[in-house]
């Protein structure tokens, strides 16, 4: 009997457990998935919590509901990986031996990285919607806020879902308009990037939307500290931006277990082959999703696409064959733009997001890089798809792991 161990029962780990459970012969392979939590969060929903568009119960379900029968769920934290002994040491002192290890530990926020960020004002005037608790605290604050300066801020790249802070700014604009108080709120979008997004064509579209919604942008801002006496964020270049509410995306880092195991880079992300998703150092370790250092977005769609490639590669690896499937960096993201509309972008390592139709070339029904109501319904419908199809590794019609070049206006 051989062992596949998966660390992390988030999006990537859960999809892999479902794929491998279908593909592997149970007489030969035991599949174990480790996670210290009991809850599975639908993380794209955190964006809607602060604006009372989703309720907390909409975005959380028990982890166990999505782990297939035939896969062992170990509800204990993994405290260390020992690649030389091929084992994972658990917080309860037990060790699990593996023949193949899949690291799916994701990323977490690290507000301590910036001086003054995790201060007494955390949860009072400094917020993040990148956690369930953070999103709820922000919702409570916004419910009876009288207005002032709202600063939406990215600390440093890379971050999970790089478009989420932009969406937050757009939705905030809508929210305050609906509450008839938009004139009392000044929204500023502060980013370490040189523009609204990283890729030129999407940046042009998104900056136009910022302008249209009267959201001021402060690009190239590398934060040095939060000044809690004057309520400002200050950057290394000497710029200072005042806020009444700071909605920040703190530094994103890989988990401590990666660091203590000596498997990570300077942000605890695991150096990973961007095509095969195999660890660059240890052939029996594979990495999926936010935990990798591959140069594409950290996003649920990426994990979903990676899982199909990784499953094929692991099956070949087991047979001692060459791993022929290559991940192309495919990402597919809805961008809420407020007022019941959304954009859709579809891109990979080589192609930036452009206009066009998706998923069927020339037909759609979704339009790329253009605002539409239909895209917004797509985003809302996606929650159902996530819980019922994506996590269970059921194929989503017309949506392929590798990006389709047809239907795009390159």
């Amino acid at each position: 009997m051989k062992n596949i161990v998966i660390i992390g029962a988030g999006t990537g780990g859960t999809i892999m457990a479902n794929h491998l459970n279908k593909e592997l012969n149970k007489n030969d392979w035991r599949i174990t998935i480790i996670d210290k939590r009991k809850e599975h969060y639908y993380q794209p929903g955190f964006l809607f919590l602060p604006f009372d568009q989703y309720k907390p119960e909409d975005v959380v379900k028990p982890i166990q509901e999505f782990i297939p029968q035939g896969v062992d769920f170990v509800n204990v934290a993994a405290s260390r990986i020992s690649p030389n002994d091929h084992q994972v040491i658990l917080a309860n002192g037990n060790a699990l031996l593996y023949d193949i290890l899949i690291i799916a530990t994701g990323t977490e926020i690290a507000p301590d990285e910036i001086e003054g960020m995790k201060s007494d004002a955390w949860g009072k005037s400094i917020f993040t919607f990148y956690t369930f608790e953070g999103a709820k605290a922000l919702r409570d604050k916004l419910r009876d806020w009288n207005g002032g300066k709202m600063v939406v801020h990215i600390t440093e790249m890379p971050i999970k879902c790089p478009v989420a802070p932009l969406e937050f700014a757009f939705l905030a604009d809508s929210y305050f308009k609906d509450k008839k108080m938009r004139d009392k709120v000044e929204i500023t979008y502060v980013t370490p990037l040189s523009g609204a997004f990283t890729k030129p064509k999407a940046t042009a579209t998104l900056e136009y939307l910022l302008q249209e919604k009267n959201i001021h942008i402060e690009p190239d801002f590398a934060i040095e500290s939060v000044d809690n006496e004057n309520n400002t964020i200050n950057d290394y270049g000497g710029r200072s931006i005042p806020f009444d509410i700071l909605v920040t995306v703190p530094t994103n880092k890989g988990r401590d277990v990666i660091e203590v195991s000596g498997l990570g880079d300077d942000l605890n992300f695991v150096p990973t082959d961007k095509g095969t998703l195999q660890s660059k150092k240890h052939p029996d370790i594979f990495v999926i999703g936010d935990a990798t250092n591959v140069p594409t977005s950290k996003a649920g769609s990426v994990v979903h696409f990676e899982a199909e490639i990784l499953t094929e590669n692991i099956l070949n690896f087991i047979k001692g064959k060459e791993m022929t499937e290559q991940f192309d960096g495919h990402a597919n993201c809805f961008i809420e733009t407020g007022g019941g509309k959304a954009l859709l972008i579809d891109f990979n390592y080589d192609h930036e997001p452009v206009t066009g139709t998706f998923p069927i070339a020339g037909i759609g029904p979704l339009r790329l890089l253009k605002e539409s109501r239909f895209n917004h319904f797509g985003k809302l419908a996606f929650r159902w798809v996530y819980w019922h199809m994506l996590l269970k590794a059921r194929p989503i019609p017309f949506v392929t792991a590798k990006m389709n070049e047809a239907g795009k206006d390159f």
């Binding site: 440093e156 790249m157 890379p158 790089p162 370490p192 990037l193 040189s194 990283t198 030129p200 690009p219 190239d220 590398a222 040095e224 290394y236 270049g237 300077d266 942000l267 250092n293 140069p295 594409t296 977005s297």
Partner: protein, 102 residues
């Protein structure tokens, strides 16, 4: 696209990053620096050489990494390249725009 830099025809991206590192030389660095209102001092060159070495070794660059490099801290990096330092410094160094901007 092609651009005339320091009297030579150089292949660059829309944003002005060199696409062929082999076309880079010090006169090109000086010209790109001047375009970005930077005058290169020996301190700048230490940083540029560090960045080029990291690139040659396939190490992804970020402001954080440069701050921990021991070559320069973030504060000084900003003094040397006041506007968008990572972008400006990599452009002058003739290497592609850092992929940390995903």
């Amino acid at each position: 696209m092609d651009k005339l830099i320091a009297g030579k025809t150089i292949s660059v991206t829309e944003e002005g990053f060199l696409t062929e590192y082999s076309q880079w030389d010090k006169s090109i660095a000086d010209a790109i620096a001047a375009e970005n209102d930077v005058t290169l001092t020996p301190r700048h060159w230490e940083v540029i050489e560090y960045i080029q070495n990291e690139y040659k070794n396939d190490v992804p660059l970020s402001i954080r990494k440069i701050g921990k490099s021991g070559v320069v801290d973030i504060k000084e990096f900003y003094q040397l390249f006041p506007v968008a330092p990572l972008k400006t410094a990599t452009k002058i160094a003739g290497i592609p725009k850092p992929v940390s901007c995903i």
